[in-house]
């Protein structure tokens, strides 16, 4: 056994199983567990282990944040702006404060003596109350008198781009640095409502286009999508003299703890954030949010716990959304398909926030020597956007992948042949091969070839997503003297099943069943875990879980070795026993070895090491692996040319997430990503009334989500791709699975009717308009 305290060379599995699995030698950092074999040779990792908390979910026993009830708990409610742009000159809360049920009143938009407070969208928080009941809170809110002065506003992105449009911000008030879950580029010029461009480039696109035999050019539009988590944004804040405890439906307990400590001037050890059941986030529950800050301030004022839960209208109006985009793409190519230049110009609006870019698909998906992008954020009087499942890349792929499809047709190449030529990724090459076979790509006909009114078609689209890692991720593994095992981290389970995956990871190391591992997560009392966004949870927390389990196993090996009269370095685990490697007759039950421990409990804490081969980049706690996560999706659709209805009949999704830890959970994530992509493609759209700035469909009725009847047959294939990066080599899947669906459907629609729909959502009205049967929407 090599010494663990020095880095040393080890041989790791490397490559794609079934398409050239090999071996690579890498330096293993000190104190990291030895290389993990491919899944085929493992007992628990890679197996379809059912979710640990299934029983609680089917019996209603899971406690979501909305279910938390504390003694003396008050109910908070927020008064929101009815106007899209206004200045508040006065606000009178006296009557609200006098309401018998009121326990705290907070003015959020505070006018000072000289200037009013500015509100910039319908739904912006103005004031809030905490009262003894929801009814009392609503009554008290109605007693607040606000003196609004309405200001000119602009809710539509195209209008906002006009030089004459009312400015949403001036240079001093415009947000600069951070929004939408990403660091925005700093110091970009602001001209009216248009901020940018953020530019990227390589080579010389003018030369590239001059060399091209063919240029395709197109404009694409994507709509605002809202997250529609079924559990609304919810918090119960309990401010006490000895510290603050917050129950919150959040994607990042450890991050919210930091935000709270900073916002309220508390040391980290006085702030605790807890989440048990978590009813969906999709990016919208990444931060504390204004409602979170309000609830805590109310609790501090009232000296009592305060529950604040947004209702569905508030969810739709002000809990984040995926920004709308407009993109113009030009792609130049040689006759053989080689790309000579790509140029991208995009304008997007995240309302009063930044972060409406279209990601990096155009930059990075295909080999092209000359590239230029100019991306602009446009401010509008609309609620702030935020990250939503594959922000940037989902709208970006809708444009790029249609442009590539169009290019293939113009070159008279099969779309897969063209991609084989211009896509350098071995992962996607294999994914195309598998997917084409599954969907029956050979049967694909020429565009619009079906004779009848119902026309069928097939399309393909690709994706890429960064393999993200949070280095500030830690996990503790404890073994008790009775042989029971716990794994602890503040990481939260937002529905992906990370708790089950942690149990599998630890069980594999200790030679136990995953059900034998008690998982305690979602509480900042435990070692700080990663956020559940950016598809980084699995990549960040499973390696330290394996490392911690491996470290805690060593004292047990020493005890077992003593008992078996063998050397500790010859010990191995299997089926609940510790045995002498190569002599399985000599073994001791895991529990008996634990019983020999000197203390009741032993424990090890590990944190995420750097990738063994190094990161592509690292900034503070965030880093990215050198390889991207590639995906390819195929869609088969039927378009009714008389009603305009598009039915997606089948989707084949072939995805990469490194080492698949649990195929059941991964398939479920991929299906969910496909369905959200389908819903984005066909149904969802936040509609703002441009005359009032109000959302006209702030519910789940006129804002339509895909349901059971809209669900196609979904075929999921997950590659097993080893890159020798970490103790588990596993990555995320939730976002990668959400990128290629909409463009694959759009390309299938083109193949069905021979007409290209370049705007989302692809509604029956849009189809009929394209067919010339219905006036186009202005």
């Amino acid at each position: 056994m090599a010494s663990d305290d020095k880095p040393h060379a080890e041989r790791f599995p490397f490559g794609i199983v079934g398409a050239g699995l090999g071996v690579v030698t890498r330096q293993l950092p000190p104190d990291e567990p030895p290389p993990l074999a491919p899944n085929a040779d493992l007992a628990v990792i890679g197996r379809p282990v059912p979710r640990q908390n299934g029983r609680a979910k089917v019996t209603g026993a899971t406690r979501f944040t909305v279910d938390i009830s504390l003694p003396g708990m008050l109910h908070g409610r927020i008064l929101r702006s009815p106007l899209a742009h206004a200045e508040i000159h006065g606000i009178d809360v006296t009557a609200a404060a006098r309401h018998p049920g009121t326990r705290a009143v907070l003015v959020v938009a505070r006018p000072d003596e000289l200037t009013g407070a500015t509100l910039r969208y319908v739904g912006a928080p103005v004031a809030a109350v905490a009262a003894v009941s929801m009814v009392a809170a609503a009554e008290a809110l109605r007693l607040i008198r606000v003196d609004y002065q309405s200001l000119p506003f602009v809710a539509d992105m195209d209008e906002a781009r006009n030089a004459t449009a009312p400015p949403v911000f001036d240079a001093a008030s415009a947000p600069a640095g951070y929004a939408s879950g990403f660091p925005a580029r700093l110091n970009l010029p602001l001209d009216g409502n248009v901020r940018g461009p953020a530019t990227d480039g390589r080579g010389d696109t003018a030369e590239g286009f001059a060399e091209a035999d063919l240029v395709v050019e197109g404009e694409y539009r994507t709509q605002v999508q809202t997250h529609c988590c079924l559990e609304p944004h919810a918090i119960v804040a309990d401010w006490r003299a000895d510290g603050l405890t917050v129950y919150m439906s959040t994607q990042f307990t450890a991050g919210v703890r930091h935000e709270l400590a900073e916002a309220f001037g508390l040391p980290l050890d006085r702030v605790r954030v807890i989440v048990d059941g978590m009813g969906g986030g999709f990016g919208s529950k990444s931060t504390l949010g204004s409602y979170g800050r309000i609830a805590v301030a109310l609790s501090r004022q009232a000296q009592a716990p305060v529950r604040l839960v947004l209702d569905r209208q508030e969810e739709q109006m002000d809990s984040g959304n995926r920004p709308a985009t407009w993109q113009r793409l030009r792609i130049g190519a040689k006759r053989d398909g080689s790309l000579t230049a790509i140029s991208l110009v995009s304008y997007g609006t995240a309302g009063v926030a930044l972060g409406a870019g279209v990601g990096n698909v155009a930059q990075a998906l295909y080999a092209c020597p000359n590239f230029a992008a100019a991306q602009y954020d446009v401010f509008t009087n609309a609620s702030p956007g935020c990250a939503m499942r594959a922000p940037g890349n989902a709208p970006g792929a809708f444009g790029l992948e249609q442009a590539i499809d169009e290019l293939a047709e113009r070159l008279q190449l099969d779309p897969l042949t063209l991609r084989d030529h211009i896509d350098p990724s071995p992962v996607r090459r294999e994914e195309r091969r598998i997917g084409a076979e599954r969907i029956g790509w050979r049967r694909r006909h020429a565009p619009g070839a079906d004779p009848g009114p119902i026309k069928r078609g097939m399309g393909v689209a690709q994706s890429l997503w960064g393999a993200n890692v949070q280095t500030n991720s830690a996990c503790e593994v404890r073994v008790m003297r009775d042989g029971s095992v716990e794994v602890l981290s503040s990481v939260q389970d937002i529905g992906t099943g990370i708790g089950t995956v942690l149990a599998q990871t630890v069980a594999e190391v200790l030679g136990l069943h995953s059900e034998a591992i008690t998982v305690r997560i979602g509480d900042t009392e435990f070692p700080a875990g990663p956020p559940s966004y950016g598809s980084r949870t699995t990549a960040s927390i499973t390696p330290p879980a394996r490392a911690a389990a491996w470290r805690v196993l060593r004292p047990l090996f020493r005890e077992a070795a003593l008992a078996l009269n063998a050397a500790a370095e010859d010990m191995a685990v299997r089926d609940g026993r510790i045995l002498v490697r190569g002599d399985s007759g000599r073994s001791i039950d895991f529990r008996d070895a634990a019983a020999r421990l000197r203390t009741d409990r032993i424990s090890a804490v590990a944190s995420r090491s750097d990738d063994y081969g190094g990161f592509r980049w690292r900034m503070a706690d965030a880093a990215q692996a050198r390889q991207d996560l590639g995906g390819v999706q195929f869609a088969a659709v039927a378009v009714d040319t008389e009603t305009g209805v598009i039915r997606v009949e089948r989707v084949v999704a072939v995805q990469d997430c490194g080492r698949p830890m649990n195929p059941l959970l991964i398939e479920s994530q991929v299906q969910g990503g496909v369905l959200m992509g389908l819903s984005y493609a066909l149904f969802e759209e936040r509609i703002l009334d441009r005359h009032t700035g109000r959302m006209v469909n702030p519910n789940l009725e006129q804002y339509k989500l895909a349901g059971a009847c809209d669900t196609p047959a979904i075929d999921v294939v997950v590659l097993e791709n080893y890159q020798a990066n970490s103790a588990t080599d596993a990555y995320g899947i939730a976002e990668p699975a959400n990128i290629a669906t909409a463009p694959a459907i759009a390309n299938a629609v083109y193949n069905a009717i021979g007409l290209r729909l370049r705007a989302l959502p692809m509604t029956p009205a849009a189809v009929l308009a394209a067919l010339g049967k219905f006036p186009a929407r202005s």
């Binding site: 969906g280 959970l665 496909v674």
Partner: protein
């Protein structure tokens, strides 16, 4: 401004109970605030998502829309009652086996609707299932597994009956 509360009596999960409710109080609020039953949860608040489903006299009802006062004299069954004897209902068992949820926020509603579906159609086809469950939303997109779970539950029930 709240009108006078009134006392109602009804059967809740097999027990006779009484509660003093305000006229505008919804059934879901009453179940949560007065009986600490949290399995029915409000999400859309408009009868569109099914997260708040309970059974009233055996029929599935959106408890966000139903007034608490209206269950006076009736029988209300919530998700918490299905395993009252310690064993899971075959539908619950099937949802676990098929992995028919991610976050699980929608699950109680789907389970209750599935039970009602199987009482009316013991052997539903895929399309029957999808249409019957069209009033329940799952934002995590677990529909494929949910349809599988319903079929599995149907098979379990037929097995138990036959």
């Amino acid at each position: 401004m709240s009108a006078a509360p009134r006392t109602i009596r009804f059967t809740l999960n097999g027990r006779t109970v009484a509660a003093e409710v305000a006229p505008q109080e919804s059934l879901v609020t009453m179940l949560r605030d007065r009986f600490a039953l949290y399995g029915a949860r409000e999400s859309c608040g408009q009868g569109l998502c099914g997260c708040c489903t309970v059974l009233v006299d055996g029929r599935a009802v959106s408890s966000c829309l139903a007034l608490a006062a209206l269950v006076d004299g009736r029988a209300v069954t919530t998700i918490e009652h299905l395993d009252a004897d310690g064993t899971l209902d075959p539908v619950q068992q099937a949802f676990i086996e098929a992995g028919a949820f991610q976050c699980g926020f929608c699950t109680p509603g789907f389970v209750l609707m599935t039970r009602q579906l199987l009482e009316q159609h013991p052997d539903p086809g895929d399309d029957d299932i999808r249409h019957y469950l069209a009033g329940n939303l799952c934002r995590c997109g677990a529909y494929p597994e949910i349809v599988q779970a319903v079929k599995l539950a149907a098979a379990k029930r037929r097995g138990a009956a036959g």
